[in-house]
C-alpha cells in the first residue's frame, strides 16, 4: 500500500513534465526600454478604435452609393477606398505601439466592431460634408492624443508626438483639403444643374471623362 501511494505521489509530481508541451515558455528580458506612459497609451488605443469605426462608416457610405436606386459608383469607389485607408491608419498606429514594446497583453480588447451609425445620405454633397466632419473629428482626436503624450509631467513622448504631428496630422490636413475641394466643386456644379452635376462629378470620380 505504501509503495502504491509512493508511486501515485511520484506520478502526480511528475505528471506536468510528462504532458505534451505545445509551446515555448515565455522569457523575461529587461523592460527599461519600454517607456510609454499610460495616459498616452490609452489615448492611442482609443484612437485605433476610432480609426476602425471610421473605416466601417466609410464602408456604409460605399454601400449606400452602390445601391441601384442611388447609382453613384464613383462616390462608392471613393468611400470604399477611404474605408480601406482608415483600416490602414489603425494598422499604422498598431505598428507604432508594437515598435515601442506595447501590445504584449490586452490585444483582443483593442478593437470592437459596431455597426456604423449612419447608413443613408440624401446626396453626394451631404456624404462629402459628412466625411469632412468625420475627418475633422479624427483630427481633433489626434490632437488629444498628442496632448496626452506630450503633457505627461514625467515623460514627454517626443517621438510619438513627432510621428503623430508629422505623419498623421499631415495626412489629415491633406485629406480634409481634398474633401473640402470636392464638396465645393460639386456644390457649385449643383447650383443650376442638380441631377446632371452629380452625375458628371460621379463619373469624374470613377476616372471617366464624360
Amino acid at each position: 500500500m505504501k509503495t502504491l501511494l509512493a508511486v501515485a505521489a511520484f506520478l502526480a509530481v511528475c505528471a506536468p513534465s510528462l504532458a505534451t508541451q505545445c509551446h515555448v515558455n515565455p522569457v523575461n528580458i529587461p523592460k527599461e526600454w519600454i517607456t510609454m506612459h499610460r495616459p498616452c497609451r490609452d489615448s492611442m488605443r482609443r484612437q485605433i478604435q476610432m480609426e476602425v469605426a471610421a473605416s466601417l462608416q466609410y464602408l456604409a457610405m460605399g454601400a449606400h452609393f452602390s445601391k441601384d436606386s442611388v447609382n453613384r459608383p464613383g462616390f462608392a469607389k471613393l468611400f470604399f477606398e477611404a474605408g480601406s485607408e482608415e483600416r490602414e491608419h489603425a494598422m499604422k498606429l498598431i505598428e507604432y505601439l508594437l515598435m515601442r514594446g506595447e501590445l504584449t497583453s490586452d490585444v483582443t480588447s483593442l478593437i470592437t466592431i459596431r455597426p456604423p451609425e449612419r447608413k443613408t445620405w440624401d446626396n453626394g454633397v451631404e456624404a462629402l460634408e459628412h466625411a469632412l466632419k468625420m475627418e475633422s473629428d479624427v483630427t481633433k482626436s489626434i490632437r488629444t492624443v498628442i496632448h496626452a503624450c506630450e503633457d505627461d509631467n514625467e515623460f514627454n513622448d517626443y517621438h510619438l508626438v513627432d510621428y503623430l504631428t508629422g505623419e498623421f496630422l499631415e495626412e489629415q490636413y491633406k485629406g480634409q483639403r481634398d474633401l473640402a475641394g470636392k464638396a465645393s466643386t460639386l456644390k457649385k456644379m449643383l447650383d443650376r444643374h442638380s441631377s446632371l452635376g452629380e452625375f458628371i462629378f460621379d463619373k469624374k470620380l470613377l476616372g471617366i471623362d464624360v
Binding site: 505534451t20 508541451q21 505545445c22 509551446h23 515555448v24 515565455p26 522569457v27 476602425v52 466601417l56 464602408l59 456604409a60 460605399g62 454601400a63 449606400h64 452602390s66 445601391k67 441601384d68 436606386s69 462608392a76 470604399f80 474605408g83 480601406s84 483600416r87 489603425a90 494598422m91 498598431i94 505598428e95 508594437l98 514594446g101 506595447e102 501590445l103 504584449t104 497583453s105 490585444v107 483582443t108 483593442l110 478593437i111 466592431i113 455597426p115 456604423p116 447608413k119
Partner: protein, 232 residues
C-alpha cells in the same frame, strides 16, 4: 380603367410569376401623368426572387458582416505575433494576409449585395449558429492560433456551402444560380486552398512537437516562422 390595370399588374408582379414588362409598365403609366415626379418602383435591379423569398439575401449581408469581424480579429492576431515577446514575424504575416483577404471579401460582398438590388445591413446576423466567441482572445501560442484560424476558415467556407445550398434548392422561389455561381467562383475554390494550407501547417507543428521528445520545439518554431516569412 387605368387603376384596375395597374392593380392587376401589381398583383401579378407580387406573385413573382410576371416579371416581364414591369418597369416598362411603370414608365408607360407614369410618363403619361400630369405630375412631374416619377416613382417607377419596379425599375430596379431585383430579379428572380432575391430578397423576396428565402433567406439568401439576408445571409449574404450576414456573410459580409462575418468577413468584416473575422478580418479585424485576424488583424489583432497579426499584431499580437508582432510584439517583442512573441516576435514571430512569419505568423504575423500569415494573419495579416488572412485579414487582408477577409477585408477585401467584405467589400466585394457589399458590392454584390447592392448589385442584386438590395441594400447592405451591417447589423444582419446569420440564422446559422456562429462559432462560440465568448472569451475570445488573440493572445494564443503558435499552434493554438493556427487551430483557431483553421476553425475560422472552415466556418467561412461552411457558411458559403450553406448559402449555396439555400440558393440551389429545387424551388422556383428559392433557386438563385447567380448567387450559387458567385460563391463557387469567388469563395469556395480559394477557401479549400486556404484550409488545406493551414491544416498542413498544423501537421508540421504537430510533428515538431512530438519528434525527439519535444526537444526540437523551440528551434522548430523559430525555423517554421522563418519559413512563413519567406513563403506567405
Amino acid at each position: 380603367m387605368k387603376a384596375i390595370i395597374s392593380a392587376v399588374m401589381c398583383l401579378l408582379a407580387a406573385t413573382g410569376a410576371f416579371a416581364a414588362d414591369a418597369c416598362y409598365q411603370d414608365v408607360s403609366l407614369d410618363c403619361g401623368q400630369a405630375s412631374t415626379s416619377l416613382a417607377l418602383p419596379r425599375c430596379n435591379a431585383v430579379y428572380g426572387e432575391y430578397g423576396r423569398h428565402g433567406n439568401v439575401a439576408t445571409e449574404m449581408q450576414a456573410y459580409a458582416n462575418l468577413h468584416l469581424e473575422r478580418s479585424y480579429e485576424y488583424l489583432l492576431s497579426a499584431a499580437y505575433f508582432n510584439n517583442y515577446q512573441t516576435n514571430r514575424a512569419g505568423f504575423s504575416k500569415l494573419f495579416k494576409k488572412l485579414s487582408d483577404q477577409a477585408w477585401e471579401k467584405t467589400i466585394e460582398l457589399i458590392k454584390h449585395v447592392t448589385m442584386r438590388g438590395d441594400e447592405m445591413n451591417f447589423s444582419q446576423r446569420s440564422t446559422q449558429k456562429p462559432v462560440e466567441r465568448k472569451n475570445y482572445t488573440v493572445e494564443l501560442h503558435e499552434l493554438e492560433s493556427l487551430a483557431k484560424a483553421l476553425d475560422t476558415q472552415k466556418e467561412l467556407a461552411e457558411r458559403a456551402f450553406y448559402i449555396h445550398r439555400e440558393a440551389t434548392r429545387n424551388s422556383q422561389h428559392l433557386h438563385d444560380p447567380e448567387i450559387a455561381q458567385y460563391l463557387e467562383e469567388e469563395f469556395i475554390e480559394d477557401q479549400s486552398k486556404t484550409i488545406r494550407e493551414i491544416a498542413g501547417h498544423t501537421t508540421d507543428l504537430k510533428r515538431f512537437i512530438t519528434a525527439n521528445n519535444g526537444q526540437d520545439l523551440s528551434l522548430a518554431l523559430y525555423l517554421f516562422d522563418e519559413y512563413l516569412q519567406k513563403t506567405v
